[in-house]
């Protein structure tokens, strides 16, 4: 006689049962954990923005955020204003840091006016303008928070990624890469040019801050190009805002 587990009816019933069990298990886990996960993501955004303006716990070589316990408090303390630029309108919105840059990019493609959040931070008498940018690396999304002064000179940056190759593209979130951006000019002769992640860089120690170039990571060409591309396309949109500041 045929074994029970060989029968077609059994196979079909088993698969139906498996789908129901696994489906409800995953649905339960996802919905039960969602509030906690969302809260983690919110805190992370605050940590990222604070990191970009230099409020962090970096030690000699590694990048460390301020702890999640103090992040909301420090965020309120250092970020004095959050603005949303939409066309010619600039509005204040203290939830601007929750704006989903990816969604706004899609909106812009669909012909809607894109919301551009900018966070204004004050630290030691200096004003920082922090903008979130979003792009794609080799495998998946990459994004960053870039802090600039009113001349669009970078004061700090935090890069992150969803799934770049560990040891190669994933290194964009390492200090040796991010710190290279500090002091780099986004403009050249008053015009916006962005920053190139250059392979044939004659300046590996990064002493020339006005060359609009930082040194690329070996083995991470496409991730590096993605970084340069998102800086160019997303930060360019902020140029009118910065031009208005100086008037």
């Amino acid at each position: 006689m045929e074994k029970r587990t060989e029968k077609n009816v059994y196979t079909i019933l088993f698969s139906i049962g498996m789908v129901i069990v696994v489906g409800s298990l995953l649905a339960f886990a996802a919905s039960a954990l969602k509030p906690t996960i969302d809260e983690n993501k919110r805190l992370e955004k605050q940590q990222n923005i604070l990191y970009a303006m230099g409020v962090n716990e970096n030690d000699e070589s590694s990048a460390n955020f301020v702890s999640t316990d103090v992040a909301p408090e420090l965020f309120d303390q250092y970020i004095t204003k959050q603005l949303v630029i939409q066309g010619n309108d600039i509005t204040e919105d203290d939830q601007a840091y929750l704006i989903d840059v990816k969604k706004e990019q899609a909106n812009a493609k669909a012909g809607l006016e894109r919301k551009l959040p900018v966070f204004i931070g004050e630290k030691d008498g200096k004003t920082y303008y922090i903008a979130p940018i979003y792009g794609k690396g080799l495998w998946d999304a990459i994004w960053a928070y870039v802090a600039m002064d009113e001349d669009m000179v970078i004061q700090g940056a935090y890069f992150d990624h969803k799934g770049e190759t560990p040891g190669l593209g994933a290194n964009i979130k390492q200090r040796f890469f991010m710190d290279d951006f500090i002091g780099e000019h986004l403009k050249s002769d008053g015009k916006f040019v962005g920053i190139d992640v250059a392979k044939s860089n004659a300046d590996p120690k990064n002493e020339d801050k006005t060359d609009n170039e930082v040194d690329a990571i070996a083995g991470a060409t496409i991730t590096g190009n993605g970084v340069a591309a998102m800086i160019k396309s997303d930060l360019k949109l902020y140029v009118p805002f910065f031009n208005n500041l100086k008037k």
């Binding site: 196979t11 886990a29 906690t36 799934g163 560990p166 040891g167 190669l168 590996p204």
Partner: protein, 215 residues
Amino acid sequence: MALLSKKDSKLILDPLTDNNPITIQVLGICSALAITAELNASIVMAISVLFVLGLGNVVISLMRNIIPSKIRIIVQLVVVATLVIIVDQVLKAFAYELSKTLSVFVGLIITNCIIMGRFEAFALGNGPWRSFLDGVGNAAGYGIILVIVGFFRELLGSGTLLGFKVLGDPIEKTGIYAIGYENNGFMLLSPMALIVVGIIIWVQRTRNKALVEDH
């Protein structure tokens, strides 16, 4: 009485040497190429696979008598994917920092052929305890190779180990860079992982002729 019987300890020890999943069974090569550019990533991956393979083998082994043989591969895939996703979600909620480090590996773990290979070859025909040992053993054998490959690729490719500049600073020209040594950037690219694995296979088979296959 020993902790493990002779037969059981063989399940753990064999995959470390003469039945290594990477060098002998030639499974899991894809992830060995992908994530061994630095030692740290190799270690994280090894621990993750140890966890998933140990647990997955037990689950499959418990289900072995009720799994319809016609769709067993699909069932195995569903089990491993569910396990990995649940672990990922729990980490995201309660250990967010850790989950960010691991997020890249999640996809690689699900598609790791060692996991499917051990489900199919062992867990479907053995009890849970032996399956657990087999899972741990194979994951450890896989981990050892990852760590060896990661060690050489990071040392020769970036001149660092676990991020520490053990050979000096290539830009400031200190340490052995002062006498003209250069990092070999080629070590960071995946073909070199294959070559390092090849060298390990060569060394292993030279030492133990019994492993050489006849043609």
